[in-house]
């Protein structure tokens, strides 16, 4: 029986993981297996953890403003490892104007503050491969 596995990761240097934990908990309650890797991960660490855990989804949270650099980097590293079908989503304090470029870079959806956790669950259910 297949189970959706999600890596919840905090790339970059900001130390705020309340949001990531709330999302991790909501995904757990939706029946997913959530691998939580904690704070201050490099893009390389996130991509390698995604490979070892064979996740279906990588969900990243950034509150520092480093998303234009870090999100696309994670996407590229994951694709380089041959994981073409992993759904990659992002969240955090992200200006609306940055979102089109992130989507262009391969982030399937961006969830900003105030998003009900149910929306994230629904998005994953609808788009996971």
């Amino acid at each position: 029986m297949a189970k959706v596995r999600v890596l919840v990761a905090k790339p970059g240097l900001d130390g705020h993981d309340r949001g990531a934990k709330v999302v991790a908990r909501a995904l757990r309650d939706a029946g997913f297996e959530v691998i939580y890797t904690g704070l201050r991960q490099t893009p390389e660490q996130i991509a390698e953890a995604a490979l070892q855990e064979d996740v279906n989804v990588v969900a990243m949270s950034i509150l520092s403003g480093a998303h234009p650099h870090l999100f696309p980097k994670v996407v590229n590293l994951i694709r380089e490892k041959g994981m073409d079908d992993v759904l990659i989503i992002g969240g955090g304090v992200i200006p609306e104007t940055d979102i089109p470029a992130l989507k262009e870079a391969g982030i399937a959806e961006v969830f900003t503050p105030g998003t009900p956790t149910g929306d994230i669950v629904d998005f994953i259910k609808a788009n996971v491969k």
């Binding site: 029986m1 939706a30 959530v34 939580y36 953890a49 070892q52």
Partner: protein, 312 residues
């Protein structure tokens, strides 16, 4: 991608996909296991168990680094509980092992228990075999945080380490049956906390009273894993135990027992699902359930009849 061929060549994504196939019981899983099996039997399997918050993951991280320094390759399977209500899980053991992620000689996989109650998941043993076939020298199996009776780890591991911490109860806890009986090696973590020496004394007393003890008296080592204290001594204890069981034929006996259990597990699960599927396909399942519910028959008679019919 040919998973087996790529896995045997050392492709980490193939190993990862193989474990997924095993865990999710995909159709190809049985075939993968058949092909990997001849390549297994080389790894040393170390079980690490103990109560929640004892520091099993931190200790695993430190021990793995020490083995890496010896040039050995390491596989880690870390198990956390699956919710019985939603089927979801938070697998958080990697947080303590992030420093190992970029070491190509280490492969860490988190697993949810998915309904299993013995401290492992049903598929842990097969995931160990996949890592063994991949060529890992040492495979750590870290159980969920256990209470008193989750002792499945002894069936999966060559050496079992029980991690305890001070302040969990008085000496009556130490003479109860359960996880304290399965330790080949004991580690008292967080030994800088109050009560560590008292716990060592109580554990020693428990061992003094053990009438079934063989020549191997499980060593008790005080450790502060977060500060890397006591790690070298712990590795020595593990290696002494491995040497002891290798030289006394105990390892062979344990592995023979494991082979038997493996075969019986596959036998039970295959026969069980074969019969269940037949009952569902033929519609007999609902029929029997209704009859049992109405007390027209009983589960024992039904099963006797089903067995007579199907296993001729």
């Amino acid at each position: 991608m040919d998973i087996v061929e790529e896995l045997l060549k050392g492709n980490r994504l193939a190993l990862s996909r193989a474990i997924t196939a095993i865990e999710n019981e995909y159709d190809e899983a049985m075939d993968i296991m058949k092909k990997l099996y001849p390549h297994t039997g080389h790894a040393f399997v170390l079980g690490i168990t103990g109560p929640p918050g004892a520091g099993k993951s931190t200790l695993t991280d430190k021990l793995a680094r020490a083995y890496r320094a010896q040039g050995k390759t390491v596989g880690i399977i870390a198990i956390d509980p699956t919710s019985p209500f939603t089927g979801g899980a938070i697998l958080g053991d990697r947080i303590r092992m992030n420093g190992l992620t970029m070491d190509e000689g280490v492969f860490i996989r988190s697993m949810g228990t998915r309904g299993s109650l013995g401290g492992l998941s049903h598929k842990t043993a097969d995931a160990v075999k996949a890592m063994d076939a991949f060529g890992k020298d040492i495979i750590f199996v870290e159980t969920v945080g256990v209470g008193q009776s989750e002792v499945d780890i002894v069936k999966a591991a060559d050496t079992t380490m029980v991690v305890l911490i001070p302040g969990m109860g008085d000496d009556i806890q130490a003479i109860k049956a359960g996880i304290l009986e399965i330790g080949d090696v004991f580690t008292i973590n967080k030994a800088d906390h109050d009560g560590a020496d008292k716990l060592v004394r109580e554990m020693n007393m428990m061992l003094d009273l053990d009438g079934l003890m063989t020549d191997w008296r499980p060593p008790i080592q005080k450790v502060i894993a977060s500060q890397n204290e006591g790690i070298t001594e712990t590795i020595e204890n593990i290696e002494k135990h491995f040497k002891y069981i290798s030289e006394n034929g105990i390892l062979t006996k344990r592995r023979t027992e494991r082979s038997k259990n493996e075969m019986l597990d596959v036998l039970h699960s295959n026969i069980g699902s074969y019969i269940t599927n037949k009952l569902v396909e033929t519609g007999k399942m609902d029929e029997y359930v209704e009859q049992i519910k109405a007390r027209e028959t009983d589960p024992y008679t039904v099963v006797s009849n089903v067995m007579k019919d199907m296993l001729k």
